[in-house]
């Protein structure tokens, strides 16, 4: 796997207290986004057709609905050293399947608390609602997310990158 993208950050690797960590200069985080097919994936498509630029750190996994995203997927990502995870669905009330994002909202509110409880920086897991018309919002969201994860530093909670 191309770890070449992630510059060497060995000085931080063994520093136990993550609060002491200063943001690393050339750190390019790896972020996974679970996007619902009807709103957020289409919103990201619109950002493309509108040629709105945003950082290339995000990898999109297409799912039919944010309600399809199993919390285990998120945990799996974080355990495998992904630096940040985003789940994005339709705006509340706009779900293509009418209720899916309600499930997602509740489920991931709990997951977020669990992650915090086990000591994972809450910035590493985020939720968003992006509609098919919000290409600009999608680009802005990714930009902000990348900045936040950069500040949070590399994810080494589960022994670093794999």
């Amino acid at each position: 796997m191309n770890k070449s993208q992630i510059p060497d950050h060995s000085p931080q690797k063994n520093s136990g207290d993550r609060n002491l960590k200063a943001p690393i200069k050339d750190f390019e985080p790896k972020i996974v986004g679970f996007l619902c097919n009807w709103c957020s994936y289409a919103g990201a498509d619109l950002a493309g057709t509108s040629r709105i630029k945003y950082p290339p750190n995000i990898r999109v996994i297409r799912v039919p609905c944010s309600g399809r995203v199993n919390p285990l997927f998120v945990l799996n990502c974080l355990m495998n050293g992904v630096d940040g995870v985003l789940v994005s669905g339709c705006h509340i009330g706009d779900c293509h399947y009418s209720e899916g994002n309600f499930y997602a909202r509740r489920r991931f509110a709990i997951l977020k608390r669990l992650l915090e409880y086990i000591g994972i920086d809450p910035r590493r897991f985020q939720m968003a609602w992006v509609s098919a018309a919000e290409g600009e919002r999608w680009a802005k969201l990714v930009g902000e997310l990348v900045e936040e994860i950069k500040e949070a530093g590399p994810n080494e909670h589960f022994g670093g990158n794999r």
Partner: protein
């Protein structure tokens, strides 16, 4: 496993920022990939031929296309690989255009991301399963909810194609709003003259069944197989015995305000709403009938020569199956009594457009005379106020109701025709007369019929003696206007029916913030809903005039007929699937499913040697959202096309 990867340049759309050749080379090294190439336009005929040829020559069994968004060309490439003999669900797309080349600058990082996206797609395709389309039978009958002009037109179109249609109408007669109109703009033909023949056609058609005085009780099922419960309210008159002779309502001693005449006239307790009613069978209004309120009278039963009166009739619920549903439930008038400046609806001489329609109708309660309801004297100075409720974000609805400009112009014209001494004043915000011969019509009313158009709002109406003082602004001259009017006519906007939301929930169709039903696409699918098999027509979707209502009615009929003519209905196989061996029968997925697409079944557990309850997906109902998969603690229910194994494989190669 032999995976082929086909990377697209898309002209310069991808190639300008992504090193496509490098992507193709990198992909060749991924596990399972035995062939990788790049081409200028993969979706073009030569591009597709490259895919087909490679499948044959290299015996590929799975394909990844690295190009644009799957929303554009997933179908194209499914068809393409199917032509080459591969199951169409063994193809995945890597979106290296919308999600990569178009949003990132040229450079190594962008190419690296494209390579990763292909890697993810290859991982996913390696876990794809061959799937087959499923087919469900279609019930060849269409339900039409609402018997106004839109519902009637739909029924006529469907009957013309020799398919059965059933109209369910809440009121005692079909005809809807149009039946109470006098003339229609811009041609001024009489509404009854053009509507009645259609009502007769539909009632005489062997293919159309009409349930009047009936409501929809419950809708279950899915496209091709809807099961609908219809509540037939008790008419108290046997529709099969009654001949419509009219003796009963001639003798009824009760008089209550007539709904059809907007309360301007009276009707008996046993009545037909209007003379041309279909069916021409009276109904007893049990709230005002003396038999039901005071247990006396009973005259209608005594005088009926056919013994058709049945006081003991009860609600009847019938259940029918339909293949498609057309929703034509129409609109209600905006209730202008929210406006304190217009007297909170308390002034007798302030009326709505529908009142005016009845008044100006020569067979209406005033015999075509335009009067002041307070004292019955003829009205000479008449003020029309447009945009009542429409375009008012504070107290009304934000949208334009589209037809009030036109019907007000028509009223102003009819006023002068019925009383040459009368003067019409029209307060308007803008004149929106966008329709064939509409602008010309308004111009004619202004020029030839002397209606005075004032651009501005009315700030206050109050009673002074037997006159109404209408105070407003004429923004074009900048003057304040005060008119001593005999009658004020409110051009009330069109809003959703009060029970629109509950019907929408019953049908599983979305509605907007104004409770109007939402079409599947505002431009390209204006009569469809996102629930397949349910179509919209008329003003339940947005305010529409008669031509628009009729046009959408025919459009909805064509869509419904498109289903009717098919032998069976093909359905995408990307739906949930249960592994019964893993299922514990906890039913958490049944709770979670928004579509009631999961049910229980008993299976013979061979290992336990006893019967056991597990769940099962109803194929025709499942929409493939995958919400159930997350609810399942056992991972016993999975989603084809987005299975746990597929997603985990994608995550594993990140």
């Amino acid at each position: 496993m032999k995976i082929g990867v086909f990377t697209c340049h898309c002209g310069t759309n991808i190639a300008a920022t992504v090193d496509v050749e490098k992507v193709a080379q990198a992909a060749a090294e991924f596990p399972g990939v035995t062939f990788s190439t790049a081409y200028n336009y993969m979706c073009s005929d030569p591009g597709q031929n490259i895919v087909k040829k490679a499948i044959k020559e290299h015996a590929l069994d799975r394909v990844v296309i690295a190009s644009c968004s799957p929303s554009l060309h997933e179908k194209t490439f499914r068809k393409c690989v199917e032509d080459a003999g591969i199951n169409p669900y063994l193809v995945e797309m890597a979106n290296i255009r919308e999600h990569c080349s178009w949003v990132h600058p040229e450079g190594e990082q962008t190419t690296a991301k494209a390579i990763e996206l292909v890697r993810i797609a290859v991982a996913k395709v390696s876990r794809d399963r061959p799937l087959e389309m499923t087919y469900t039978p279609i019930e060849k009958k269409v339900l039409i909810i609402g018997g106004g002009i839109a519902g009637i037109q739909s029924a006529i179109d469907i009957a013309f194609a020799n398919y059965p249609a059933v109209i369910v109408e809440r009121e005692p007669s079909i005809g809807g709003r149009m039946a109470s109109f006098d003339k229609t703009f811009p041609t001024l033909d009489c509404a009854a003259c053009i509507l009645t023949p259609k009502m007769v056609t539909v009632s005489q058609s062997e293919h159309v069944t009409i349930h009047t005085y009936s409501e929809i009780e419950e809708v279950t099922g899915y496209v091709g197989n809807f099961t609908v419960k219809i509540r037939k309210k008790p008419r108290s008159v046997d529709i099969n015995k009654c001949t419509g002779c009219g003796v009963c309502y001639g003798k009824c001693p009760v008089r209550v305000p007539s709904e059809f005449d907007q309360g301007l006239g009276k009707r008996p307790a046993i009545y037909i709403p209007f003379p041309q009613a279909v069916p021409n069978v009276p109904v007893i209004d049990r709230e005002s009938c003396l038999w039901f309120t005071e247990q006396k009278c009973g005259i209608c039963q005594k005088v009926c020569p056919f013994g058709a009166i049945d006081y003991d009739m009860e609600d009847e619920i019938i259940e029918e199956k339909f293949g498609a549903i057309i929703v034509a439930t129409g609109f209600q008038q905006f209730d202008y009594s929210v406006y304190g400046e217009y007297g909170y609806g308390k002034f007798k001489n302030v009326i709505t457009g529908l009142h005016f329609e009845r008044m100006v109708n020569s067979s209406g309660p005033t015999g075509g005379k335009i009067i002041k309801p307070s004292d019955g004297k003829e009205a000479r100075e008449v003020v029309f106020i447009q945009c009542i409720g429409s375009r008012d974000e504070q107290k009304g609805v934000p949208y334009c109701s589209r037809l009030c400009c036109m019907y007000t112009a028509k009223h102003a014209l009819l006023l002068r025709e019925h009383n040459p001494d009368a003067q019409a004043y029209v307060f308007y915000i803008d004149i929106r007369a966008a329709g064939k011969n509409y602008e010309e019509f308004v111009k004619k009313v202004q020029d030839e019929y002397g209606a005075i158009y004032l651009r501005g709002r009315v700030s206050r109406i109050f009673e002074k003696g037997d006159k109404l003082i209408v105070r407003g602004a004429d923004t074009l001259s900048g003057a304040q206007i005060e008119i001593e009017a005999d009658l004020v006519v409110m051009a009330t906007g069109l809003v959703a029916m009060p029970d629109a939301v509950s019907l929408a929930q019953m049908l599983h169709i979305p509605y907007d913030q104004n409770n109007l039903f939402t079409e599947a696409h505002p431009k390209l699918a204006p009569v469809e809903t996102i629930t397949s098999g349910i179509f919209l027509t008329g003003a339940c979707q947005a305010p529409k005039d008669i031509p628009d209502a009729v046009a959408t009615a025919s459009a909805a009929s064509v869509k419904a007929l498109g289903l009717m003519v098919q032998d069976k209905l093909a359905r995408e196989p990307l739906i949930a699937r249960v592994i019964p061996e893993l299922c514990s029968g906890c039913r958490a997925c049944i709770e979670a499913c928004p579509f009631s697409a999961i049910e229980t079944e008993e299976i013979e557990d061979l290992r336990l040697r006893r019967k056991r309850t597990v769940v099962k997906v109803i194929e025709g109902v499942c929409t493939g959202c995958g919400i159930c998969t997350t609810a399942c603690r056992m991972s016993a229910i999975d989603l084809e096309g987005f299975s746990n194994r597929q997603i985990m494989e994608e995550l594993a190669v990140l």
